[in-house]
């Protein structure tokens, strides 16, 4: 007896249309400015803040989030150490995660956050607040250029994050802070 796999593939072979050409996607250039990125991110509930240099990060974090007790970050000595084996009940208490990101996309305010930068896969969504640290030289105009910067693929897990978690499922009223981070700041240096 043939398996579902074999039957499905056979049905596809029998029913598929004549082969068509895979289009080449041209490189659509556009505005890759920090101004554009900041404006779009603000329009989707996030915020850009400037950082004079990476050395100022820790002081800036304490200045911006004075109430945050449990802070996780690979960029400065954290108040809570998180790694891939951290149990769920510890993750659940994180107030703020400060994580480095690799690419910023000006057209939609998204940043690329690969697994290697997350400490734990759940950290970017389980934390109450999220601060992402971006080198201004890593800004690109569109998603085409963003994906072009991932020649090795997306890694085990990775996400584009554009603003804080949100929902409009109750009467189309926008509410920031659905299940993931309640606020999102991109610190640009």
């Amino acid at each position: 007896m043939s398996t579902s796999r074999e039957r499905m593939l056979a049905a596809v072979r029998a029913n598929k249309p004549d082969e068509t050409v895979l289009p080449t996607v041209p490189d659509f250039w556009g505005d890759d400015s920090l101004e554009r990125f900041s404006t779009v991110l603000a329009s989707i509930g996030g915020e850009v803040m400037r950082l004079a240099s990476l050395a100022d990060l820790e002081a800036k974090v304490h200045e911006l989030w004075p109430a945050a007790k449990l802070i996780a970050s690979p960029l400065f000595p954290p108040t809570l150490a998180i790694d891939a084996s951290t149990p769920t009940d510890v993750l659940a208490d994180v107030d703020l995660a400060v994580l480095p990101v690799e690419i910023g996309v000006a057209e939609n305010g998204a940043v690329w956050l690969p697994e290697a930068n997350m400490l734990h896969r759940a950290l970017p969504t389980v934390t109450q607040h999220l601060a992402l640290v971006l080198d201004h030289r890593r800004l690109v105009a569109t998603m085409h250029q963003a994906y072009a910067q991932l020649p090795e693929g997306p890694g085990g897990y990775g996400m584009f994050v554009a603003g804080p978690s949100k929902t409009a499922d109750i009467e189309q009223s926008l509410v920031i802070g659905a299940h993931g981070a309640r606020s999102l700041v991109v610190l640009v240096y």
Partner: protein
């Protein structure tokens, strides 16, 4: 077995005038947000062409890409399963859950699992299944199906949600503030996420070259579920494939702009490998899709990326509500997908359209939706699934419009009859369905032919 028609199911919805108007205006507002986002991208039409071309190509080599995807996913340590139909899909999910001895499942939005009726199946087997998308959780508590694929609770008002949360979450009676209601759901669902043993997600895009699946959400519920639970099961139809990672550049630029007018969804998550010591499964589902692939007139419906733009723009959907379609995917796209599944049951859906073509205009992958609606009508008619009144009416109109003499005579008769017959007869709601909510036009004194015969300029010949 006889089925209710779309229009009879819509009757209950349109009884509440205020709510119908609100529904209509709310979805039109989403359409306007879409327009604003789309017009801001100069190359948007070119992106639609590219998306359509990429999907066409993928369907034309789907066997190749399915095998390529499977091999890449397996090399990543992912278990790949194949399900010919809903029953097999549900059984695979149950087996995975049982093998872990798990009972607590958190689920993010997946129209495919709705299509497979996975939730009732698992609940019957003693599994707790929690929908974690806010809109889905609301309708799950109310035991209703989603009425829209992107906005599942769009048929509800905040008062309805307040009452549901009062009953199920113990919020204050009469609480209607969306911010406070969402916060209550956040607390309730956080406990579920933290306790989840198996996470189920849908798939927006499956990348053949890397074996990754991509899930797009605004709430972050797919990521919370899949990153906390030891097991992640992603269910996808065979049509979710795209060849290359770089193709996502095209689709992520189209999806959210078309759906809600956002520049991109908050989270665009790429799942490629399980964490060490954890499991990731992908279930590839047919359930009628290969059959649709074999229908030249209708295979383009498989290009759909489930943005919902055709619903938001459809004058019939906006005024009849998603539940009137009685199919997992409502609106214009559902009306061309559903007859493939059960022609008789869904025979009235291709008629739930004015054929205005607005759905085709907004479709980000350029599916010829209104043309397919028209073509399904022919098939419904040939299969003899038209209601008797419509059948007789169409036969009569067919012969009338084929004969100039009969057409001329009937026009004359109609104009006279409308003038002479009493209002109570011409507007009798039993014989004239048109008059249920509308007036007939004032009959003109003469026909266009008569007017033209009198007024035509002298011929030069």
């Amino acid at each position: 077995m006889s089925y209710l028609t779309h229009s009879s199911r819509a009757e209950a919805f349109v009884l509440d005038h205020d709510r119908t108007s609100w529904h209509d205006e709310t979805l039109w507002f989403v359409r306007q947000k879409r327009d604003k986002a789309v017009y801001a991208v100069p190359e948007f039409q070119e992106l639609r062409n590219l998306a359509s071309g990429i999907k066409d190509h993928t369907l034309s080599r789907l066997d190749y890409y399915l095998e390529k995807f499977e091999a890449a996913a397996q090399a990543n340590g992912v278990r790949v399963h194949w399900a010919a139909d809903a029953e097999e899909h549900n059984k695979i999910v149950l087996d995975i859950i049982r093998q872990r001895g798990a009972t607590r499942v958190v689920k993010s939005k997946s129209m495919l699992t709705e299509e497979c009726h996975l939730n009732p199946f698992l609940i019957e087997q003693g599994i707790e299944v929690i929908d974690t998308d806010l809109g889905e959780r609301i309708i799950q508590m109310r035991d209703e199906p989603p009425s829209h694929i992107v906005l599942p609770a769009i048929h509800l008002k905040k008062e309805d949600v307040g009452e549901t949360f009062f009953q199920h979450l113990g919020t204050a009676k009469g609480l209607t503030d969306p911010q406070q209601l969402t916060e209550a759901a956040r607390q309730h669902l956080r406990a579920k996420f933290l306790a989840g043993e198996v996470a189920l997600t849908g798939v927006n895009f499956a990348i053949a070259e890397t074996g990754s699946v991509v899930v797009c959400t605004n709430e972050g519920n797919a990521d919370l579920g899949a990153s906390l639970a030891p097991v992640h099961v992603a269910s996808m139809g065979i049509e979710k494939l795209i060849p290359r990672l770089s193709d996502l550049g095209v689709f992520t630029r189209l999806l959210a702009r078309s759906a809600t007018g956002q520049p991109v969804t908050t989270y665009t998550s790429h799942y490629t490998k399980p964490m060490p010591g954890r499991e990731m499964h992908i279930i590839i589902v047919d359930n009628g899709r290969t059959k649709q692939l074999g229908r030249p007139d209708f295979r383009a419906s498989l290009k759909c990326i489930r943005c919902g733009a055709c619903m938001n723009t459809c004058p019939v959907y906006r005024r009849s509500g998603g539940h009137s379609y009685d199919f997992t995917v409502p609106g214009p796209i559902g009306s061309i997908l559903s007859p493939n599944i059960d022609l008789k049951k869904h025979s009235t859906l291709p008629f739930a359209s004015t054929l205005c073509g607005s759905c085709t205009d907004v479709c980000p992958v350029k599916i010829d939706i209104h043309t397919q609606l028209y073509k399904w009508r022919q098939i419904v008619s040939e299969a003899n699934h038209l209601p008797t009144a419509k059948k007789i009416g169409l036969r009569f109109m067919g012969s009338l419009l084929a004969s100039p003499t009969a057409f001329k005579f009937s026009g004359l008769l109609g104009r006279k009859a409308l003038r002479l017959l009493p209002y109570g007869l011409t507007h009798n709601k039993t014989v004239n369905a048109w008059a249920i909510a509308r007036e007939l036009p004032e009959p003109p004194k003469q026909s266009f032919r008569e007017w033209f015969a009198k007024n035509q300029p002298e011929s030069n010949a």
